[in-house]
């Protein structure tokens, strides 16, 4: 009996990851048919003389780094508040501007200045996160509406920080963060994502954050009556998203070695929410799986890269992306799921009946 329960639990867990996994499968099969060399990975020397890995797969994993980091925080906010933060792109532009300002202001750029700059932009992003969080938790405003404020004026604040210019930074350390550390063949953003994932996993393992967040998301009044400080949990989710935003902003800045407040991580909020939804998380809050969101982020990036490989222009990609998204969400919709389970149940029922008949004979 207990084994059966375990098995059921297991299948339930996989159920949530079904959509991103199906999407991955479809994309892999499609690419294999289209052009098997899509998956080839090779080593080559980059212009600083490093041996590095190159290939479409590497560029997918590398390119989705910002999205994956943001998806972690967005999942938490979604789970706790039942709404999404649409200001992450604007907040990342602010965080990136602060980072660039401090790096440029330093006399010589060494490891310490970069760490200080990161900490400063982390603090700024957390302040903006707690601003959003205050509106949501204390004033009880819908997250999407509350973050609309920062979405409207965030990029203007970023513009103001650097006085309207698009300053560049040039330092071996920042370029190492954006591309490759000498001697390491894996892109640094990928390593940063791995570190973030491990940190959040540790956070969930050793604190009650996961349980409390889910409790607040499922039923806020019940959580409050059980002694959970719901305001604090919601605020905390936004502050943690702020940390993710600052990491994503720094990766984005270091990748290009400049800050353009208008285009840095443009429209990433939509992709992030999409990643959370494709990962099987309910956008209405409650239970969540970080792994689903991260998989969702990689699905989106793989889709984009596949379309680019098919010579679709960057402006037209959106239309094809929309079709795939609709297909995915239709497969994952409650109605189709119910219909599918019913059909499966019928099949299983018929099988059992047949087996029963045999035994009877």
């Amino acid at each position: 009996m207990s084994e059966m329960k375990k098995a059921m639990k297991k299948s339930g867990n996989i159920g949530q990851l079904m959509i991103p996994l199906i999407a991955f499968g479809l994309l892999i099969v499609f690419n294999l048919i289209r052009d098997p060399s899509f998956f080839s990975i090779e080593t080559k020397l980059n212009n600083t003389g490093n041996t590095v890995l190159a290939g479409n797969l590497i560029s997918i994993i590398n390119g989705a780094s910002e999205l994956a980091v943001l998806a972690i925080g967005m999942t938490l906010v979604t789970a706790a508040c039942g709404g999404q933060d649409i200001s992450v792109g604007a907040a990342a532009a602010i965080a990136g501007s602060v980072f660039v300002k401090i790096v440029r202001g330093a006399a010589d750029v060494n490891g310490l200045t970069v760490i200080l700059a990161f900490l400063a932009c982390c603090v700024v992003a957390m302040i903006f996160g707690s601003f959003n969080g205050m509106l949501v938790s204390v004033f009880r405003i819908q997250p999407m509406i509350a973050t609309l404020i920062l979405y409207t004026c965030g990029r203007s604040i970023a513009y103001w920080i650097n006085g309207g210019a698009t300053p560049t930074i040039s330092s071996p350390i920042t370029s190492a963060i954006g591309s490759f550390i000498p001697g390491v063949p894996i892109p640094t953003p990928v390593i940063i994502v791995a570190v973030m994932v491990i940190l959040f996993n540790l956070l969930f393992r050793f604190t009650t954050l996961r349980l409390y967040t889910q409790a607040v998301g499922i039923n806020q009044s019940a959580a409050r009556l059980n002694g959970i400080n719901t305001t604090m949990i919601k605020l905390l989710s936004f502050i943690l998203l702020g940390v993710c935003v600052s990491v994503a902003g720094c990766i984005g800045v270091c990748r290009l070695q400049l800050i353009n407040h208008e285009t840095l991580l443009l429209d990433i909020e939509m992709d992030t929410i999409l990643a959370v939804a494709i990962g099987g998380n309910n956008l209405g809050g409650g239970k969540f799986r970080i792994s689903g969101s991260i998989l969702g982020a990689y699905v989106i990036q793989m889709l984009t890269t596949t379309l680019y490989a098919m010579k679709v222009s960057s402006t037209d990609v959106k239309a094809y992306k929309a079709i795939v998204i609709i297909l995915l969400v239709v497969i994952g919709s409650p109605v189709v799921k119910r219909w599918f389970t019913k059909k499966m149940g019928n099949l299983r029922g018929a099988g059992l009946r047949r087996a029963g008949a045999k035994e009877g004979v």
């Binding site: 609309l148 004026c153 203007s156 939509m270 609709i326 969400v329 919709s333």
Partner: protein
Amino acid sequence: MTVKNASLPQKRREPLTDTQLLMTITICIFFAMYALAMLLLGGGFLRPQQIFDLLNDNAALIIVACGLTVVMIGGGIDISVGGVTSLVVMSCVLYLNNDGNMFVAMLLALGIGLAFGVVHGLLVSYLEIQPFIVTLAGMFFARGMTTILSVNPQKLAHEGLNALRAVKIEIPWLGYIAKNGNLIPGRIELGVLVALLCVVVVFLILKYTRLGRNFYALGGNQQSALMLGINVKRTRFMTFVISGLLSGIAGFVFMMHTGAGNATNAAGAEMNAIASSIIGGTLLTGGVGNIIGTFFGTLTLTTIKKIVVTSGLKDPWWQSITTGAMLLFFIVLQSVVLSNREKHNAKKKDSSAVKKG
């Protein structure tokens, strides 16, 4: 005796509903703001043409915001409206430039809007997919299709429609005397009439038809609406259809105003429309909202931008920072007003319960 008489009419007066309260605040603030601008800035704000210009420039936004308000009252959200508008503009311009017929172009605009509305409605209400994701995909699709149709800006070169665009309603007695002594009459574009018509029609639908009242019931509490025998799925479907249709009309009006198709047309219109609805007192949670409020919300939003520009803050970032600050003000104000009412109501209930007890 006199005390009783004095208290009677007060008792009978029904308290304002949340919708009306939020709308009243918006309208008051709009007029106060405009009066202040007239006093302090003078100049253009003293001329009626300023209001006409606001309407001329934002007719499409008003229509789009109406559609969005309907969806938001029903408890959903539609962020595809800007994309659909730009797709309609681009396809109509391309069609008309290929010797198209004006009326067919109108039908094309309505058809595209309707198609988006129907697909969104089907996916959201009958397949139970989250509206945000569905309309996000709709926005991606519409924006992508716009650039597939043409990446380069297209100028409208259709004689009939250009003639129609030039038609403006002139009101001499609301004009002003220009520096050279000529009287310049107040000018209103045809698109504004369409926008006002849309506002009136949607207002009537929401206020006096069964469908409109069902929208409020659905947004207020879906479970109760279902138990009252409302066809919840069809009602939700209809909110998206109305929003799509209005986006199509907005696209045509937008084309009448600008006379060109461009991939960046109506960029950010969805967020502006959401902001307008919120300023007008619509709650994203559903069940609360009013078209008249949305109309004034749009005007408030665009007036503040105009005030920022006229008062000499020419840097582009001032506009969005003031818009953000204003949004913050309205949102916090609404939240405080509503929670105060809640507390007040709870107290009233308590005291009445005590009295009865």
